[in-house]
């Protein structure tokens, strides 16, 4: 990960002092609730259903064991002994006290962490592929470019009061593991004809109320121009994005209303003025940032050809991933054990995980947008030892990529925006599909749950998506199928009227029946099958024919 220099540290320390003063004035009644709101949000602080919620940034998802120990300390000292990893590669605390937030920020700053711009109508935490730096299909190490963008976006004076929040994702490998088509700006590294590095620039994607797949507005942007080009996009958005209706304020609506071609022309015209200006990146700066990243010092090893069977084999198959360095592997720690809210980790688990990271993976770890953790650099000959240790911590559920690796937002149990609960729905589905053999037979399937249309649980891109809706004050769930987060990205289609909470697992089971009956082979995934045969057969098996509707809509589990 990137190590701060004195200036980086000083800026974060000054932010703590600034927010301490703002909080003091708010508590003394000298700043109104309305005037304080944007200030606290730009420090990740929400006022929630029961207490404030603090969102701490894990910039582009990488952090150290020392930082994780601090996160554990914060969970213990200021919260109720746990934290929640979110789909934005951040960690959230649900029970801090407003008075203590400046102290939490000071503790975070002591380990080079912060909560800067984790909320509010500004440029948010930049996300990337959680296999950056170790993937075999890597074009560039995306962490370096994410850090350059982090510094550029942190306290950007012109873009702190945008029409709405702004999310940037950057992907450095061939495969898109950062959902670049579903962000306000997506940047996908590409190589030009002479091997030079650049970025494909995608604008106007997003989930939420109006899910839209982004538009490519530039096929190749040479790396030197990354900041000036992104600045041109932001300026056009800041000036012309809608501010009259918060539901139409995201850049995707501006791109849609202008048309992608007109929008591109406006950006290019603005960029013409900024191009080659002082913000043009230099080789020296890229090298400087690179040199401040701590790299694992790999040992010269050969790849082992492990083919274990049994539970260790199942875990190897699902939770262990190939690595560009011979003899090493990346490992996903599943935070999706049945009965535990997706993404939740206790302080004791955090401390134990930090110890394992030191022992097995150079003291570094990553958080994924699927709300799991990754040890990126594990020696293959130590995988079995690691598996044993993870098992005893409840972090070795072999379900990565499978139906029970559910993405879910905190939902109505915590969030004041939610229409419906997410966590109990996730748990009920996990309980129904608790047979591992059956789960592996179903194969790759992303099931995502959002408690409301803000889509924090990414339901639009779930192969099966579950969305909490409000029907005359009661919690209901709308089901979509066919969404996909990348390669290619797709937005799921609604199958029909919404269901009561207890019916949702039953519906999932009916959808799976159709898939298992229709798939061409075990290699055809659920989502591919939906795209091939369409949603009609699925609808029919759930709702019955129009002339003979199903009568057995009973919960499969009590």
């Amino acid at each position: 990960m990137y190590l701060y220099d004195e200036i980086d540290q000083q800026i974060v320390d000054e932010r703590v002092a600034q927010f301490r003063d703002q909080t003091r004035r708010f508590l003394a009644g000298r700043i109104s609730e309305d005037d304080f709101r944007p200030l606290r949000l730009q420090n990740g602080l929400y006022i929630q259903r029961y207490a404030p919620m603090l969102r701490v940034a894990v910039p582009y998802g990488i952090f150290s064991s020392a930082q994780l120990r601090m996160l554990a300390h914060i969970a213990r000292k200021y919260d109720r002994g746990y934290g929640h990893f979110s789909t934005r590669q951040n960690i959230q605390y649900n029970w801090p006290r407003l008075e203590e937030v400046p102290d939490i920020l000071a503790d975070l700053a002591s380990v080079q962490m912060h909560a800067i711009q984790t909320s509010g109508n500004c440029i948010r935490n930049i996300t990337t592929d959680h296999f950056a730096g170790v993937a075999r299909d890597e074009i560039v190490d995306s962490f370096v470019w994410c850090e350059i963008l982090r510094q550029w976006s942190a306290f950007h004076p012109e873009f702190a009061y945008l029409p709405r929040k702004f999310k940037i994702a950057l992907n450095g490998a061939e495969a898109d593991r950062a959902a670049t088509f579903l962000h306000d700006i997506g940047l996908h590294a590409v190589q030009g004809g002479a091997g030079e590095v650049g970025f494909r620039v995608i604008v106007g994607g997003g989930m939420g109320r109006t899910p839209i797949i982004g538009h490519v507005i530039r096929e190749f942007l040479p790396w030197q121009h990354l900041l000036t080009y992104v600045e041109a996009i932001l300026r056009v958005y800041n000036r012309f994005g809608r501010r009259d209706n918060k539901y139409k304020a995201r850049i995707k609506i501006l791109v849609k209303e202008r048309g992608p071609d007109n929008f591109r022309e406006e950006v290019e015209a603005e960029w013409k003025q900024l191009r080659d200006g002082p913000s043009t990146l230099t080789r020296a700066e890229v090298r400087r940032v690179e040199s401040r990243f701590v790299r694992p010092s790999y040992e010269p090893l050969e790849d082992l050809h492990l083919a274990p069977s049994g539970p260790f084999g199942a875990w190897m198959k699902r939770n262990v991933h190939s690595h560009k360095q011979p003899g090493y592997a990346a490992v996903t720690l599943s935070l999706k054990k049945t009965g535990v809210p997706p993404g939740d980790v206790t302080d004791a688990q955090m401390v134990a995980i930090a110890g394992l990271a030191d022992h097995y993976s150079f003291g570094e770890l990553r958080v994924t947008h699927e709300q799991n953790l990754v040890f990126a650099d594990v020696r293959q000959d130590r995988l079995e030892d690691l598996w044993q240790e993870l098992k005893s911590l409840g972090l070795a559920t072999p379900n990565i990529g499978l139906l029970t690796n559910i993405i879910a937002c905190p939902g109505g149990d915590f969030c004041s925006l939610a229409n419906a609960k997410s966590i109990p729905v996730a748990e009920a589905i996990q309980r129904l599909f608790d047979d591992l053999d059956y789960l592996h037979d179903i194969g790759e399937l992303d099931l995502n749950i959002s408690g409301c249309i803000n889509s924090c649980g990414h339901h639009h891109v779930g192969h099966i998506g579950v969305l909490g809706v409000d029907k005359q004050g009661a919690e209901f769930y709308q089901i979509t199928i066919g969404g996909n987060q990348g390669n290619p990205a797709a937005v799921g289609k609604v199958i029909g009227p919404a269901f009561a909470q207890h019916e949702v697992p039953w519906v999932v089971e009916r959808l799976i029946e159709v898939y298992l009956h229709n798939r061409e082979s075990e290699d055809e995934r659920f989502v591919d099958c939906v795209h091939r045969i369409g949603i009609e057969p699925f609808k029919e098996n759930v709702y019955g024919h129009a002339d003979s509707p199903r009568q057995d809509r009973e919960p499969a589990v009590a």
Partner: protein
């Protein structure tokens, strides 16, 4: 009487002044008044609400694109906690909303001692000075 902070000093009440004033609303395009900038003693950029950030882009365009050297004054919902960003975007005068502490507001211009990006105040980004 409202407090004015101008060129790093508190004026309460603001000292009298002469000369032409141009006033821009958030939706206005600085390019549309470019030919009148030469004659203007100051440009006022209006913030109907501090959360409307269009004025920040307007100020940068006035300074960086149109080379305007006169006073650029933030008026409207102008509060202490936005002054640092406003100054970096090229504002050099701030007509504070009622109830803002003038001394604290002046101090807010120094909330941070360094910044990463290029700005009107420091045209070279940090990475070219590091």
């Amino acid at each position: 009487m409202a407090t004015l902070i101008r060129r790093g000093r508190i004026e309460n009440p603001p000292s009298p002044e002469a000369g032409q004033v141009l006033r821009l609303e958030p939706g206005d395009d600085p390019a549309a008044v470019a030919d009148r900038l030469g004659a203007a003693a100051r440009v006022e950029v209006h913030f109907p609400s501090f959360t409307d950030g269009r004025g920040y882009s307007i100020a940068r365009l006035l300074r960086e694109r149109h080379g305007y050297r006169g006073e650029v004054r933030a008026v409207g919902d102008v509060q202490r906690d936005q002054l640092f960003y406003l100054a970096r975007c090229g504002f050099d005068a701030f007509l504070l909303r009622d109830g803002q502490d003038a001394g604290e507001s002046l101090a807010a211009l120094n909330d941070f001692s360094e910044a990463y990006q290029a700005s009107v105040e420091r045209p070279q980004p940090l990475f070219r000075r590091r």
